[in-house]
């Protein structure tokens, strides 16, 4: 049996718990079951455990290098007359030492730390923040590790994973990552859609792992917390006791977690009442501006666009094919009706006034990449040239990764001047995948570019790896016009003055460009084909 993505996710979690010694009895039974049933699972487990064994050795090596121990193994042994038993003990005790003579350079780094935004404040009601804290407003981005201290009122945080947490003050809440948060004090209601499965909220008394549901948590000053499940189920792991086991709570069940242990909540009805009323939140007004290409028809070389909110203009896609016969076969069965096929020679472009500027954007589309696509077919699904200072007039390319040393081969990858973002799911499988890339620039040229990549509605990356920042202007001759500007390019790699020779191999369908970073729930709506739903929100 080959492992599905879900199997791998589960196995990875179990292997992690094994390595860290946090495996519960239930998890151990599950791990045994997986290992008993599947050779692939056993292979994965062995690789994971071997990785930790190797890391232990490398870490020991680093420590020994720092301590300046003898670097030659032979010297130690030859200088002493060692008895067999002592030799055996010494062999084991010096487990990491033998590696000290093997050179590895761990000091080099190809990436630098950049601020990582993992969530957004998406709504407030009568929110009062402490005087010393920065005033937060709907639409503000929240950094990894950012603490929210809400004196009173309500604040809604939407994580990049798709989880939505409504916070009621007074509360102290840490945004730990796109996938987890810490409630130090106060009350929250968390809504976790299926694409954010595994989202966690922890505090000193308990860690709650959401398995597709809605729950509330109330944390007091004494370090205790009550958990009430509103829909679905959660797994709650009491903190502080290594031998404690996870408790699965179903809808309408609640528990109190404290240092003294786990007990029944005193007043679940009151807890339920606290978040039962709808809280009318003030939100940033979201624009409805997009250009959409369905690729359902091709009139000669032209595939028409649907435009909403952007200035009037001709945004149609023009297909540039090597011959009429190739052009005539460019429309193929797509994810919805027809799609545009790129066979290795053709590319396409659309005029898009302002595209090279600074406005934030979401680029979403369906893509199918052949499972035997060569490395030369990676560049690029969608591209444009940025003339913003942050991009140093370099192109932005959305394609798949062909550098296995930088990330999973075939994963979604967005390249821009100054770095790249890397996904995790290999796309070269001959199936349709929904891609959404949120690309956010700033007027401040020193501010980091934010790139968030979603595959099939699930967050794959929300951080970028920094790289060299180069300008192309030095390579451009005086009489060259930068013809790549303010155009959307499909199926090709861009150079300084237009397409280079590399072509993307695959099919693209239902392409849309929005003028803002869509929220995870809107991306899922887009996947379902609901352009209008992307502008609606259920409070």
């Amino acid at each position: 049996m080959s492992l599905s993505d879900r199997d791998i996710l589960e196995l990875n979690e179990l292997c992690d718990a094994t390595v860290e010694g946090t495996l519960t009895a239930a998890q151990r039974v599950r791990l045994e079951q997986l290992l008993a049933d599947s050779e692939d699972a056993r292979r994965y487990y062995v690789k994971a455990m071997d990785l930790s064994a190797s890391l232990g050795q490398y870490a020991g090596e680093m420590q020994m290098e720092a301590a300046d121990v003898p670097s030659s193994g032979t010297h130690l042994w030859e200088s002493k007359s060692v008895r067999w038993a002592a030799l055996a003990a010494a062999l084991a005790l010096t487990f990491t030492w033998w590696l000290t003579s093997r050179p590895t350079d761990l000091a080099k780094s190809i990436s630098a730390d950049l601020p990582e935004y993992v969530a957004r404040l998406t709504g407030t009601k009568d929110a009062v923040w402490p005087p010393a804290a920065a005033e937060l407003a709907p639409g503000d981005f929240l950094r990894r590790g950012q603490r929210l201290s809400l004196k009173s009122g309500f604040a809604e945080v939407t994580f990049d994973s798709g989880a939505i947490v409504l916070l009621e003050g007074p509360a102290v809440f840490d945004v730990t990552s796109a996938w987890d948060a810490t409630l130090l004090r106060g009350a929250i209601k968390a809504n976790v859609p299926s694409q954010a499965l595994g989202f966690r909220v922890s505090n000193r008394a308990v860690e709650v792992i959401d398995i597709g549901t809605e729950f509330s948590m109330f944390a007091d000053d004494r370090g205790g917390a009550d958990v009430l499940v509103l829909k679905g189920e959660v797994e709650a792991m009491p903190s502080g006791d290594e031998d404690s086991e996870a408790i699965v709570l179903q809808a309408n069940e609640s528990r109190r977690f404290a240092r003294a242990g786990v007990t029944v909540s005193e007043d679940p009805a009151q807890m339920r009442a606290r978040f039962s009323a709808r809280v009318p939140l003030e939100r940033q007004s979201d624009s409805v501006r997009y250009v959409q290409w369905s690729f359902d028809e091709l009139q000669g070389k032209i595939s028409p666009a649907k435009v909403a909110g952007f200035p009037l203009g001709d945004y149609h896609v023009k297909l540039i094919a090597p011959s009429p016969s190739v052009r005539h076969t460019a429309l193929v069965d797509g994810f919805r009706q027809k799609a545009l096929r790129f066979e290795g020679l053709s590319f396409a472009r659309a005029e898009f006034p302002g595209l090279s500027g600074n406005f934030p954007r979401t680029i979403a589309f369906w893509v199918k990449v052949p499972n035997d696509s060569p490395l030369s077919g990676a560049y690029s699904m969608v591209a444009w040239r940025g003339d913003a200072d942050q991009l140093a007039s370099r192109p932005v390319h959305i394609g798949w990764n062909r550098q296995p040393t930088e990330g999973p081969l075939g994963a979604i990858r967005t390249d821009f001047s100054g770095g790249h973002a890397m996904g995790t799911t290999p796309l070269r499988d001959g199936r349709w995948h929904h891609i959404a890339v949120i690309f956010l620039l700033s007027d401040d040229p020193t501010a980091p570019v934010q790139v968030k990549q979603y595959v099939d509605g699930r967050l794959e990356s929300n951080a970028v790896t920094s790289g060299p920042k180069r300008s192309v202007r030095g390579n451009v001759r005086a009489n060259d016009n930068l013809s790549g500007s303010d155009r959307l390019w499909l199926g090709c790699r861009l150079g300084a003055v237009g397409p280079k020779k590399e072509r993307f191999l695959g099919e693209i369908d239902e392409l849309v460009v929005w003028d803002r970073g869509l929220e995870p729930v809107e991306i899922v709506a887009l996947m379902d084909g609901h352009m209008t739903l992307a502008t609606q929100r259920a409070d």
Partner: protein, 180 residues
């Protein structure tokens, strides 16, 4: 007498050379079956002792790792009673199945160990230092979290993320090398 001493010295040299070269694979094998570091260290030590005692029985030119892992396997079985209360210890059927898989993958795991050093270089500095601090002898997650300025919960999350990244990186690097 002199000849006997000379032979013992030769034997010792050979053993040291073999253990120096293969100890990582032997430890990894044990750790896979007994995934708790102190327990695995104990069994490695016991295994090393048996290897020393029985080294005369090892036939030069045969597979030392397979021979040593067989000794380790029996030490693990022998230690079942001792570690019966440990949090993770597989039942006999699973233990046997995992032992066979680990044994079959022995050479591949060497390649993965080599590839890991390249993948570690690709981590950003903060992640790499945090990860290696976690695995330093005598240092745990709590110390590594404190040194990197992370909360304990964030440290566990980061470890999960980084290890998965490395696991994938190693796999893809080996696939890439195989393709070229």
């Amino acid at each position: 007498m002199a000849s006997h001493s000379q032979s013992e010295a030769e034997n010792r040299k050979r053993l040291v050379a073999l253990m120096t070269h293969h100890q990582r694979r032997i430890f990894s094998y044990i750790y896979t079956l007994v995934p708790r570091r102190p327990d695995a260290d104990d069994i490695l030590q016991e295994t090393s002792l048996v290897i020393c005692e029985k080294f005369d029985e090892f036939e030069p030119g045969t597979d030392f790792v397979a021979w040593a892992c067989q000794i380790a396997y029996w030490r693990v079985r022998y230690a079942r009673q001792k570690f019966a209360r440990a949090k993770v210890f597989f039942n006999q059927d699973v233990l046997d199945a995992v032992a066979k898989t680990a044994s079959d993958m022995s050479a591949e795991l060497d390649d993965r160990h080599e590839a890991l050093s390249h993948c570690l270089q690709k981590l950003n500095t903060r992640d790499r230092e945090f990860l290696l601090a976690r695995y330093e002898p005598g240092c745990g997650v709590r110390d590594a979290a404190r040194r990197s300025g992370r909360s304990l919960a964030a440290a566990y999350k980061a470890l999960t993320r980084i290890r998965k990244l490395l696991l994938d990186c190693v796999t893809h690097q080996l696939e890439s090398e195989a393709a070229t």
